[in-house]
Symmetry: C2
Subunit: 124 residues, 2 copies
């Protein structure tokens, strides 16, 4: 049986606000060691996503705010989705991770290709 | 049967030199849309690796050369290795990808958690 998203996702979700500086978002990634930051507004609604790739490719462009480089149309997954479905979604959109939403639409986790890759490593 | 690295890896390998600027490495990632750049010297020997995370976390630090931020002790995989072994290696080292070496020690590909994640999405 294929595992569900909620069994594999990372539950601790670190987010940033759209008005946050890119330098501050970079500092968070450095401290935490991961690559994906969901962007939420003051009501904690998901408004975008920013990844190491967005920050890396902003080098030398003169941009300073998260809102200037975040992706607004966010691909997400549901907690009760089977992980193979999410794996196909990542491949379809050429992305490495998705914020996970519960039934109320709140961000409750993040699932990345690193998490799915661990499943490939499990001894049978 | 578990697939081998050479069946799943990306064969086109884009690399940078240690004296390349971080801005140039960032431009390559932006153009190609991926996250991993093996660093090779003038004899095409592997001397390091640089990822979107390294470039992202260099923002605001004043560093300008790839050699200043690359990781020198590179975790690699062999072409004839089974992918579950590489998946465990990625997890052990908390990394998202490895350069792949042939028997002569030349970089012939890159295998990432994105590539392994696709295997999770395959319909059974
Ligand atoms: C095409 S991907 C390739 C680079 C890297 N693997 C990544 O996922 O960011 C780069 C773009 O995808 C966007 N992206 C990443 N995750 C996303 C998601 N869950 N929904 C929408 N866009 C996403 C990023 O913001 C970035 O602009
Ligand atoms: C701990 S990882 C986490 C961030 C991101 N997932 C990544 O792999 O870069 C970040 C560090 O791992 C290093 N790294 C990535 N792939 C590596 C590899 N194959 N061998 C050695 N170090 C690697 C990067 O250079 C970076 O400094």
């Amino acid at each position: 049986p294929v595992p569900l998203v909620r069994e594999v996702m990372t539950r601790q979700v670190v987010t940033v606000g759209p008005e946050c500086s890119i330098a501050e978002a970079a500092r968070i990634l450095a401290e935490k060691g991961f690559d994906h930051l969901p962007v939420v507004d003051e009501h904690r609604r998901l408004v975008g996503i920013i990844t190491s790739w967005d920050i890396a490719t902003s080098v030398g462009t003169g941009k300073t705010r998260v809102s200037e480089i975040m992706t607004r149309k966010v691909v997400t997954a549901r907690e009760d989705e089977p992980v193979d479905s999410v794996a196909r979604s990542l491949e379809l959109h050429s992305i490495s991770g998705v914020p996970v939403l519960n039934e109320r639409g709140e961000v409750t986790g993040v699932l990345t290709s690193d998490d799915l890759s661990k499943l490939v490593g499990r001894r049978r």
